[in-house]
Symmetry: C2
Subunit: 363 residues, 2 copies
DNA sequence: AACCGATGTGAGTCCGGTCTCAAACCTACT
DNA sequence: AGTAGGTTTGAGACCGGACTCACATCGGTT
């Protein structure tokens, strides 16, 4: 009374061929429609395939075509809406071109990234899109590039890896937005970032994230142009979790010479910064001005709405996918890397610092 | 002067074997360490592999082991932080067990979902996690289930598919939160959802999302217990985009008998609802109360902070992954599906409706 | 009637691994 | 010395398709 075939094997070309009464080769031709097949044979094969519910094994197919129609995507934290949106751009574009996506989350850990890249290569993805955890430790990415497998980077550069990078040049927006803050009268401008550097900030420090480097460079330039310099004590790295961000915020706003503006390196940072400011019962922008990177819809809902630096994240993802796919298809003429622009969106969270109020109010 | 091997082929077991001066079989054994291999041979093979930078082809391996160590995940919209978090739970758990994840985004389109499932099966994923776009059109999911390939559903039920479902039972929170609103004196409670139904709401309507059905059921029960009934004109479906949500909001709050509380079916809805309320210059919670599903960090930043219904999204993802993997590993004793609980978190956005103020204020 | 190219067809190889099988090689013990 | 029992080893089948090659088969020419 026992079932002998609890999991009945999927039908293969051979099964279809037998059922249609033709050779495996003919069946394969009819199914893959290539080569020459008579109408009679084609019909019988297709009918047999139908009846057996035949589905080609993509793996077997990949084995001898070499193409898996799969992209590997490696990001730092898919929970972050930034990557969610990026992923959407990649995924939409990939699907349209008939590619699937294997996603790996690294938690911004280079070791995991290294493994991830290797595994994806072992799974024979046709190309890779990586948001590098580090712009400095890039040996593994260089090897991928040199192996000739299409690789496109997003968000950050990777030193020594000549692959295309789809990212906004943050220097100029950082410059422009800092100038804006300076013009409002702020000189005590703080910058808070999650980036892990092992040591506190000092001018000229090298960081794992080229994005953050650019932002700092832009800020330094703006300060320089104003004949000032970015206060090193206000640049705070290693703001890993909500607690440390709140501690840093408290620290920045205490003392006799507090920060009058805080630039948050991402949405998560801004969240905790604003929470702490509310806890300290300080007024935005009356007592502290806030600027954050990335434009999320909720930034319009806070009181006051947050001023942000918006970047075309979806487009960056889409362009990355488009480029790897072009490379995979062997197109020599790969679409030129578009220049992505970040824009400063002023809402209500930037004001004149208290210190500058009496005389600056007239202008 | 021409390079003859522009892309030098990856090394295979055969290459390693030749270099080590042993048979392919021996090399394979040493590499995969199984079977009996003398120390001498093992050393030589490993050394050769090292020198040739040998990496096993996972596809070939999958072909005859049948295991791909890959999970297929199908979600509606990865851009939605809800799914980002879910994905994180799945991804973390999968990685720990040595599984990779192929992610497909359907845009909540059943047709795309159908294809996606098929493609994933063709790619021979070991198991599937699906957040069904529809709880009603489930033929394709039933087929997967019947084929015996491990399948776990998240967030929503799928009619006629006896697979495990990892989801919160929304009925009870919906009941509890509605009762809370009723106790505050609200009777004009609106519910706004993106769910696409083709027709306006009427009691007993069948919807694609079992989650939404549950929420409505809970609301109806609470109304019923209070001897009232859920006003059908205040249940608004098909709130597809920001514009339509804002229009609906305006509509709900206009007229002689406006809604005094609005329940937003997700974060995106809440966003537009609140924006429109601000535009109408109405006070929350003085004139309108707001409750939203899903607890995102930013809900603490609005003025007032939003009351929400939180669900353990990360845990749901993790549990889903754990269960498919258990199934894949053939464990008969699959971990029991945990009962996930959603909780009502009261912050500042729910108050007493204006109509109930004069006398209700005393209690 | 002989010959041509175009079209159909099946046998069999290959992709890169895993795994079975039988033979070869070692002990160790009668 | 002879052999039972274990360990090593290599040849080759196999997974499920794609594809090459040699061999029909056919209508159309001259």
């Amino acid at each position: 009374m026992e079932r002998l075939q609890p999991v009945r094997r999927d039908a293969t070309v051979a099964d279809v061929a037998k059922r249609a009464g033709v050779s495996k080769a003919q069946a394969a031709r009819a199914l893959g429609n290539y080569g020459a097949v008579s109408d009679d044979v084609r019909e019988r094969v297709l009918a047999a395939a139908q009846e057996l519910d035949y589905r080609p094994n993509e793996l077997a197919r990949t084995m001898n075509t070499g193409k898996s129609h799969t992209l590997g995507v490696v990001v730092g934290d898919i929970e972050n809406p930034h990557f969610g949106l990026l992923m959407r751009g990649i995924s939409d574009t990939a699907k349209r071109a008939g590619f699937d996506v294997i996603l790996v989350n690294t938690g911004e850990d280079v070791t995991i990234e290294r493994d991830a890249v290797q595994v994806l290569l072992d799974k024979r993805v046709d190309g890779l899109i990586v948001a590098p955890a580090s712009s400095l430790e890039t040996e593994h990415l260089r090897r991928v590039y040199e192996s000739g497998r299409p690789l496109v980077l997003v968000d950050r550069q990777a030193q020594g890896v000549p692959a295309e990078v789809m990212a906004v040049d943050m220097t100029s927006v950082a410059f422009a937005s800092t100038r804006h803050l300076l013009e409002q009268g702020h000189t005590r401008i703080a910058f808070v970032s999650t980036i892990d550097s092992g040591e506190p900030y000092r001018p000229g420090i090298r960081l794992h994230s080229s994005q953050i480097m650019e932002r700092l460079t832009g800020m330094e330039q703006a300060f320089g142009q104003a004949g000032l310099s970015l206060p090193p004590d206000l640049v705070r790295l290693n703001a890993g979790n909500a607690d440390s961000i709140r501690r840093i915020t408290r620290d920045l706003l205490a003392g006799s010479n507090p920060a009058t503006a805080i630039v948050a390196s991402d949405g998560l940072i801004a969240l905790s910064v604003v929470e702490e400011i509310q806890a300290l019962d300080l007024d935005i922008p009356g007592e502290v001005s806030i600027l954050m990177y990335d434009d999320f819809p909720w930034t319009r809902l806070t009181t006051p709405p947050l001023s942000v630096i918006a970047q075309p994240v979806y487009d960056i993802g889409a362009a990355a996918a488009k480029t790897v796919i072009a490379r995979i298809s062997g197109r020599v003429q790969v679409p030129a890397t578009p220049a992505f622009e970040a824009t400063l969106i002023l809402r209500g969270s930037i004001g004149v610092p208290p210190s500058a109020l009496p005389e600056a109010a007239a202008s």
